[in-house]
């Protein structure tokens, strides 16, 4: 089995035995999204106008909450340094961590999002675009998130620091992702937004892992 598959398999197996972690992220996502509705009132048209943004922001926050776990446990028990010492391509190791993070965070969020969309009275056509935008966008959250998580390994400041670092970098995902859904709601084509999102995915798939690897090396030095 390739090193990539081995590492992803290991991460998934561990997550399966600590089911609580992955579920927490999902529950947070739903709770956070509900808070916005509780904050602004139940007026359907207002909620429909906000819905795309709310789902996306809640997804960002949920992804961020799960990021510290990406490397912290592995650093503590010594497995992280073993990963970087193994005769495996290092970018592949980082890519595997990103992939398993996405499978445990981004993917479940994407699957649950339509339910939130319904809560916010999004029309059916918009729901489809919501799922597609999340499918393309959540990997970006994991890729850039890996860099953020690696940079803040062992740093003081906890989750707030991670948020401060990552949220500005997440702005394009939010803009293009939510924008695609809003376009559909306004009767327009989401193609441009989704293409830009895809382009950003391509860029961050390269930049994120590179930055994460550099940061991991710095953390283990």
């Amino acid at each position: 089995m390739s090193g990539f598959a081995l590492l992803v398999g290991r991460d998934l197996r561990i997550a399966l035995r600590r089911r609580g972690d992955a579920l927490n992220v999902l529950v947070f996502f739903v709770v956070a999204a509900s808070l916005f509705a509780l904050g602004v009132g139940p007026e359907p048209r207002l909620l429909a106008a906000m819905g795309a943004g709310v789902v996306w922001v809640a997804a960002l926050l949920a992804a961020m909450l799960s990021l510290p776990r990406m490397f912290a446990a592995d650093l503590a028990d010594g497995t992280l340094e073993q990963f970087l010492l193994a005769p495996q391509p290092l970018l592949g190791v980082v890519a595997a961590k990103i992939a398993s993070h996405w499978m445990l965070t981004g993917l479940p969020l994407t699957l649950i999002a339509p339910l939130i969309g319904l809560q916010y009275h999004l029309p059916a056509s918009a729901l489809g675009t919501l799922v597609v935008s999340l499918l393309i966008g959540t990997p970006v959250l994991s890729a850039l998130g890996a860099a953020g998580a690696a940079l803040t390994l062992g740093a003081r400041g906890g989750g707030a620091l991670l948020g401060l670092l990552l949220l500005p970098l997440y702005v394009p995902v939010l803009v293009f992702g939510a924008g695609a859904v809003i376009a559909v709601q306004n009767g327009l084509e989401p193609g441009a937004h989704l293409s830009l999102l895809g382009a950003f995915l391509a860029v961050s798939s390269l930049v994120g892992p590179l930055a994460a690897l550099a940061a991991l090396r710095i953390a283990l030095d």
Partner: protein
């Protein structure tokens, strides 16, 4: 000759050089600022649509330019320090960050002050102001990350990765904010659109920009010396040179 320049890469060697440079840049900054303010407030004509309140652009625009310029320079020095392993480069990036953040804040504040009399609101989510806001977050993130580690070397290197990551993403972020703005605001005007430029207005802004640049160098060098003293504090030469 090159070796002489390379020698300056050591904090100890650069410290007195920086000290000698500061007064020159400070004086230049003061002169340029005086010239720029004179042009901006006395020479440049009253604007047809915005009256006198537009004059705040002579601070707002140079501040915005500097906020972006300093970020690039900061990322450059941070990256250099990461690649070449030179301590001084990382210290320079740390020295630049607060000044960059200050200019970003100044740009936001003056933009807001301009907006109130002109457009009636303290804040509008137009592309430039929103981008400046995000740039402020990037600066604050960099400063926060640098402060989150006890080991200065780790802080420098982590900060460098972040600064480079930010530098690569800034154009993308800016583009996405412009996109977002045109999408949602449609026909509404930019809060900070400058009135059509008379040559004198441009001259005033350029003078102020140069003044801000000289000021940034002077202040950053002073901050750099403070950082050098703090980091190398157990070295003999620091005690000996106190007061130079």
């Amino acid at each position: 000759m090159i070796l002489d320049w390379l020698r300056l890469a050591a904090p100890q060697a650069f410290y007195p050089v920086a000290g000698r440079m500061i007064p020159w840049f400070a004086v230049l900054a003061a002169l340029l600022a005086a010239a720029g303010l004179y042009v901006g407030f006395f020479v440049a004509p009253t604007d047809a649509t915005q009256g006198e309140s537009y004059r705040i652009i002579f601070i707002h625009v140079p501040a915005a330019w500097m906020s972006m310029f300093i970020y690039v320079v900061m990322a450059f020095w941070a990256g250099t320090g990461l690649v070449l392993n030179t301590r001084l480069s990382g210290m320079m990036a740390s020295a630049l960050a607060p000044t960059g953040a200050m200019f970003t804040f100044l740009a936001l504040w003056t933009g807001s002050l301009w907006g109130k009399p002109t457009w009636g609101t303290w804040w509008a989510w137009d592309a430039r102001m929103t981008s400046e806001l995000i740039l402020l977050f990037l600066y604050l993130g960099f400063i926060a990350l640098k402060g989150a580690f006890a080991d200065p070397q780790r802080a420098d290197r982590a900060g460098a990765v972040l600064a480079l990551l930010g530098a690569i993403n800034v154009p993308i972020i800016y583009f996405s904010v412009v996109w977002w703005n045109t999408l949602h605001q449609g026909a509404s005007v930019s809060l900070t659109r400058a009135p059509s430029m008379a040559m004198t207005m441009l001259a005033g802004m350029l003078l102020m920009a140069l003044a801000a640049w000289m000021y940034s160098i002077a202040v950053s060098l002073a901050r750099l010396r403070r950082i050098i003293r703090a980091r190398e504090s157990d070295a003999e030469w620091v005690r000996l040179s106190a007061g130079k």
